[in-house]
Symmetry: C3
Amino acid sequence: MTGGPTGGPTGGLTGRLGGRLAFGGDYNPEQWDESVWKEDDLLMRWAHVNLATVGVFSWALLEPEEGRYDFGWLDAHLDRLHANGVAVDLATPTASPPPWFTLAHPDAMPVTDTGVRLTHGSRDTYCLAAPTYRQAALRIATALAERYGEHPAVAMWHVHNEYATVCWCDHAAAAFRTWLRARHGTLDAVNEAWGTAFWSQRYGSWDEILPPRATQWHRNPGLALDYRRFWSDEALAAYREQRDAIRAHTAPDRPVTTNLMLPGYQTLDLWSFGREVDVVGIDHYPCGPGLDAAADIAFGADRARSFGGGKPWLLVEQGANTVYTADRTLPKEPGDILRHSLAHIAHGSDGALFFQWRQSKAGAEVWHSAMVPHAGPDSRIFREVADTGAVVARLGEVTGSVVRAQAAVLHDSDCWWALDGQGLPSADLDYHGELRRAHRALWDAGITADFAHPADPGLSRYRLLVAPALYLLSDAAAESLRAWVQTGGTLLVQHFAGVVDPDHQARLGGYPAEPLREALGVRVEEFRPLAAGASLRLSDGSTSTTWSESLRLTAPAEAFATYTEGMLADQPALTRNRYGAGTAWYASTRLDDAAYGALVARVAAGAEVHPELPLPRGVEAVRRHAPDGTASWLFLLNHTASPVAVRTEGHDLLTARPLPAAGLTLPPGGTAILRQG
Amino acid sequence: MTGGPTGGPTGGLTGRLGGRLAFGGDYNPEQWDESVWKEDDLLMRWAHVNLATVGVFSWALLEPEEGRYDFGWLDAHLDRLHANGVAVDLATPTASPPPWFTLAHPDAMPVTDTGVRLTHGSRDTYCLAAPTYRQAALRIATALAERYGEHPAVAMWHVHNEYATVCWCDHAAAAFRTWLRARHGTLDAVNEAWGTAFWSQRYGSWDEILPPRATQWHRNPGLALDYRRFWSDEALAAYREQRDAIRAHTAPDRPVTTNLMLPGYQTLDLWSFGREVDVVGIDHYPCGPGLDAAADIAFGADRARSFGGGKPWLLVEQGANTVYTADRTLPKEPGDILRHSLAHIAHGSDGALFFQWRQSKAGAEVWHSAMVPHAGPDSRIFREVADTGAVVARLGEVTGSVVRAQAAVLHDSDCWWALDGQGLPSADLDYHGELRRAHRALWDAGITADFAHPADPGLSRYRLLVAPALYLLSDAAAESLRAWVQTGGTLLVQHFAGVVDPDHQARLGGYPAEPLREALGVRVEEFRPLAAGASLRLSDGSTSTTWSESLRLTAPAEAFATYTEGMLADQPALTRNRYGAGTAWYASTRLDDAAYGALVARVAAGAEVHPELPLPRGVEAVRRHAPDGTASWLFLLNHTASPVAVRTEGHDLLTARPLPAAGLTLPPGGTAILRQG
Amino acid sequence: MTGGPTGGPTGGLTGRLGGRLAFGGDYNPEQWDESVWKEDDLLMRWAHVNLATVGVFSWALLEPEEGRYDFGWLDAHLDRLHANGVAVDLATPTASPPPWFTLAHPDAMPVTDTGVRLTHGSRDTYCLAAPTYRQAALRIATALAERYGEHPAVAMWHVHNEYATVCWCDHAAAAFRTWLRARHGTLDAVNEAWGTAFWSQRYGSWDEILPPRATQWHRNPGLALDYRRFWSDEALAAYREQRDAIRAHTAPDRPVTTNLMLPGYQTLDLWSFGREVDVVGIDHYPCGPGLDAAADIAFGADRARSFGGGKPWLLVEQGANTVYTADRTLPKEPGDILRHSLAHIAHGSDGALFFQWRQSKAGAEVWHSAMVPHAGPDSRIFREVADTGAVVARLGEVTGSVVRAQAAVLHDSDCWWALDGQGLPSADLDYHGELRRAHRALWDAGITADFAHPADPGLSRYRLLVAPALYLLSDAAAESLRAWVQTGGTLLVQHFAGVVDPDHQARLGGYPAEPLREALGVRVEEFRPLAAGASLRLSDGSTSTTWSESLRLTAPAEAFATYTEGMLADQPALTRNRYGAGTAWYASTRLDDAAYGALVARVAAGAEVHPELPLPRGVEAVRRHAPDGTASWLFLLNHTASPVAVRTEGHDLLTARPLPAAGLTLPPGGTAILRQG
């Protein structure tokens, strides 16, 4: 549980912030003139801003032509911010190459799988595998590190921005072949892994291997999966290159990180990134209003914490007034800015940053909300931002404290990528949706949950694991899960699990992979997907959709609900197996939300995993613990529209008083942070 | 109010038609053989055809190989038509380059934004910015003008056909840069206008500027908007080039024009085209059946009239039996051919033409209806066409008369293009839909309406202006609207108005742009888009969707309806401000159709803008005025399925008798044209 | 009724199988190791497998680099299979060129209509018109024929796999021009056929003609239609090339064929293929569950039989547990494997094969079901497969027997392709949907139906013809249908029929094409498509959608139902004409399913076309006849969930006993095969 090279919980950041939580956001002063900068200084103080992310989109100004740098303007802003008490999260601008880059290096522009070469005019338009791009990115990052590595304003380094662009060009093809040699060793091993004996796909030379470009019919799923892995690793290598260059020029208490996109992006293996960043930083914009936003924040925050191994992490971007839905941006409700910020902090963030400080007056994000909206500081949004800053400023003592969970949801990028493929038996196999639903069921039950990788060697820290979409499973992970159940764990596995190995090769002789099958006491013989919109009724009265399976049980596994219709009538649908000291549950069909929630609650209760406090649904109680065990802080967040009485005790950080004996009543939307023994 | 170089109301056309309204259509005799031509002559006389558009698709026959012309066949057709009493609207064939053109000039084929170069095999496949295309087009147009400039059959010139093809190729890029230099002067000014400081988009040389081609993420909205402007100007330049070449060889009483596509196409700024054509000509196919078709005709016709500054204009194409819907072509009902033709004439067209005379027996438009259908003259369609021709032939006295309106709907291509962009707060911001809805509300209320550009210096001719989607607004137009209200105008502005300037830069300090804000007495602080499908109830019982806003009012502005829910409860939703001698209304949410119609009617009544006659919805009364004020003609069009009694007087042009004192009764679908004092 | 070069009903196949029906499937042993091969031998015997399709995807192993062959592994498998009593359907592997092929011949990769050149990584990625592809394909096919032409295991040759890839590249363009010269003779004739006088499309040289690549607007329908014809002919030429090479090296009692895709693929003219294969082979996967699957099997099987001129044919691929729907694969119900196999045999298949023997453990079809599923032989699926094999093994005596039908549905690829174009009056004109619906109406009525081409010279073998979507009709076919009605046939023609000729040129003077118009006693003057979702009520109480027409009747044609609304009120909707000794019915609107079914049943009854037995809907009785008339076999298939008593007699092949006098009762899902006199 150490944070980066210097060992502080957030890699030294909170030390540089004087033990305070971070509060602030992206700051792009190059969009504005001096009169605005002066107002910015004033308003930042007013709003208790202590950290600004600078330089994310500054490449074109920092290097106006190839090899010629202009740092003067940035010097001035860093000095000004520093003088104003605002530390800087200094970004390398490599996500947005300037227009000159395209003309100088057209081969470094990304190419789609249908062969369209993109061009500049937006952002994020580059091929990570193009040598000229990588060299140019490393040069500007190094130049920044050399110049600002010891600048007193700089408290943190922000490499790149939201790695997400994927490319299918010839540079990518070459890099993919190199990666494949490293992963598989020989071409024979590649052929074996991908099953190229089928469909006449056997590769006779490395040069024949291409990215998964447009082809006539389904692609080879092994190749497609390896390409996802390769690309994530390529992005990670690009990150590490810059990180190492920065580390060579900066003090070790200035953590280096990048801002990861959550929650629905699936380009990167975030477990790998979590191991390479000094602090996990995420961008997180709720994708629904109301209670859905609160659950979404917990979902993203719990993932961020888990990717970093449980350490405090940092919310690098949120929207002041931004709730994304499919085709529009909804506004936040009064109080959301504070409560959403505190919700992130409750789940382990050592601060709350926004994108961006001041709403752009031009450009593609002119309608993206900001801490200071177009209307200016005389606005509800800025007032709530400033109020939030004031509250966050009172919470410095929680920095570095950690959240502990007894339950975890299994989460594996390989599964996600493999299920995002072609030729699957049903269009309703939605990795991300199932992941969310499992977490939401625990959240609805008031249970704080981590995410864990199926091959995590430290599963013993959990009492309960939920595996909502465990499509792909390695032999080692199957054995690890089995052993964990045997020694007392409670595992809930859901349909279509453990059916392929890491090469996307099917498990034979019945699913899921042994020895998980042994722990579950279940052998799946046949999948029976349901028609779109069709549903089934089970013997316990619950209903389900999407999927069913023909199972055979091994004693002492028992069905606690059976199918009632068709070929599967009276056959087991939901099963439970006492295995060693533990219990393994299996759901062979996709229960409707209510039944699924009830099942998860029942499994959790069986595992003796309970909420911090018994509270109504939508009222969160999340605890952060001092690493040395001397104190803990209970965050109470009422996301509902009703007041709720909470019987507890402690020192209220917001009122700076002890709670009365009767506890407290959280008003609708209200929050409290209590220091407890 | 003069029409082209010779000053006649329709540029001399009706003079050449002997003072008659134009009746006829596109005539493509090259599809047929001599026996058909003979039948054509007979049937055209029978149907009172006096104008035929010839040559639109004839390039491949007129110039069968590059530089070799064959005019003989066209000579014969022009002579034949002339002998038969049919004047010719002679088209330049430049919308359809022949196949040889592609092989000779592959670089002149258009390229999509994803880099797909299109090829021939259809029509409209060319890049307007390609020099070789422009030269070839000018050559054939000049050759036609030289040969037929003084041909007695030629009464009008029809440049090109439906300018609509857009291109993203390198020729387009070069022309775009030239255009940008002219608009912005310096590269610094371009960078400033587009806000390229954001997202690292600063351009260091002109060569770096590209059309808005495929890129990774949202495009710069300033660039995207300028590209729309550029392309419209490029099309206009192409038009002017041909027009000037023709004018050099033809008598000044032969107007030159092009056929503009209406109503949903948004490639061109039709205000600019209106200034450069001798007569506004439009193609207009109703996009719905029944009353929707009638309202759509009024919508298109009122726009056509407005683009030409109020002069008579010409319906160049309509469909005999064609009502377009999303995925099929519906037939017209009996009587529609006549009533639709008269509806266009009522709104100011000096004629009614069709595409096309005879239904093609082959090719891509084999199922496009025509005046003479596949079934031949023994058909309902041809009989109705011929009956319509006979009626139109009786209306010669209305030629040159004009329609006058007291109300106008504000309409600006810049707004349309800007709202057709990426990154907007809601997918439901539909410029064209709102434009239609505003016009429809006036039409339903029986009010004849113009369209007006927000920066029109002559707004004083109106008592009422409705601004349904005034997203983009220049400083000058904001001031012009303010001043117009101050001197007595009544203005209705709808949500999300005046929020960006002509560079697509946001207005700061609250919306909309000053000094319109002053006239409205409203400062918008925050937008609050609604979820898809969500609706709000206002204090007056009306409902609304899509959008809401947080407003602050300046006295004497008052709320006449407030929000009732959420953060905005009891806050103003609909406001009215007495300002100087005028009134400015603001609707900060999108009212449902019924409430919106009621609001528009209320605002109109407040402005003392009334219908010609109080008639049921769907029964039109539109008046054309002799320019010298000596007479007017009242067109009565019953688009409903019920008879309607009309108490009025005058000379009935169809019966050639004075109306009886009791007035007349229009049967369902019936029409009357009355000459009045 | 001879089958290929040797005259046996299935081209000698069943002779080589010892007079047994074929049972087995695709066998791809290169995916597995020796231990699996040993199990395969055992399980194939257990399941009564006697035919395995080998080599479909083996190119990369057979020719690991260009020109170097490795046949040793295939020798071993063929010897092993032969030793195990399994005959081989030996495939040429040309549908899946190996990766080396792409690198050696990039110009032979297919190009989409938007210019995207596809690459390997899937299957079916090649341009049939590329000379290097054709040469490579012919080389490997010849090498296989030379080596295995006399191999005792080989009972049949399987050229390629599912010809379906279409290409728009320059090779395709060159081949298209050659094809056009052959079809049209001169460029003038091409111009005339395509009506290039419209839209300035006249071609001045052959080089100007291109495939229907991306263009700005609708394509020329004549060109589009000719390209479909060309491509089908190109595929047929590719097939014939390989077939002829094989025939040069194999005994004439080993039939050569290819597996055609059914039922919704429309790339090929299957009538042409039917004339060139020794045995029609089809791949057929039901596209719906339950009764829809049964009707779909009949639909596909009746088409397969018809394409081969009524001869026995062969089901080359079915899915053991595969029911395709739009976005998922549904499982089969218990008993379906047997009943579906027997349903194909009932309709004339001399066997039932599956794709594939053993479910792949890797690759793009890892979730495609197989005879031996992942779970292994201890599974419902394999047990049912083996049971089915045992039943099929008892039916050897039906080999070579044929199905005879008194009714046929007219079916023409030209119609299909022409209706799959741009610019049609309604999006609801669905050739394939109407074809299915016509067949289903007959199937629901218990009537065994063929399909017949409109220009089939042998229509006199039918009493009833249904023409559900006869959009395109040649003069000759129109005359042939007229004459057939005159001599006693009963014809039902549906809306929008006979309206274009084979060049896609419209029929003038009223539709449909003469002299069909004479036989129907109907002249269609005007089409009146309906709005999406709209419906009409007819005078007989039935309802209809999609389409209506304005008709004029010629005595003695009479309306037996009229329209009731709008312009067509009281005008004829459904008509009947006594013509010569026959009757011609016309439906000018698209009746709802129930009314359409009733109409078809009424027309069939009028034609004295009756089911084999009066049975409930969903219970099939289909008869196969010994060619010499000495016996027949009645297949009874209860596709419903209710038992049904059948009063009939005969020798029951499954029980090997005569039926009792009371007949038999088929349980739900039950089947019986009775030999009758």
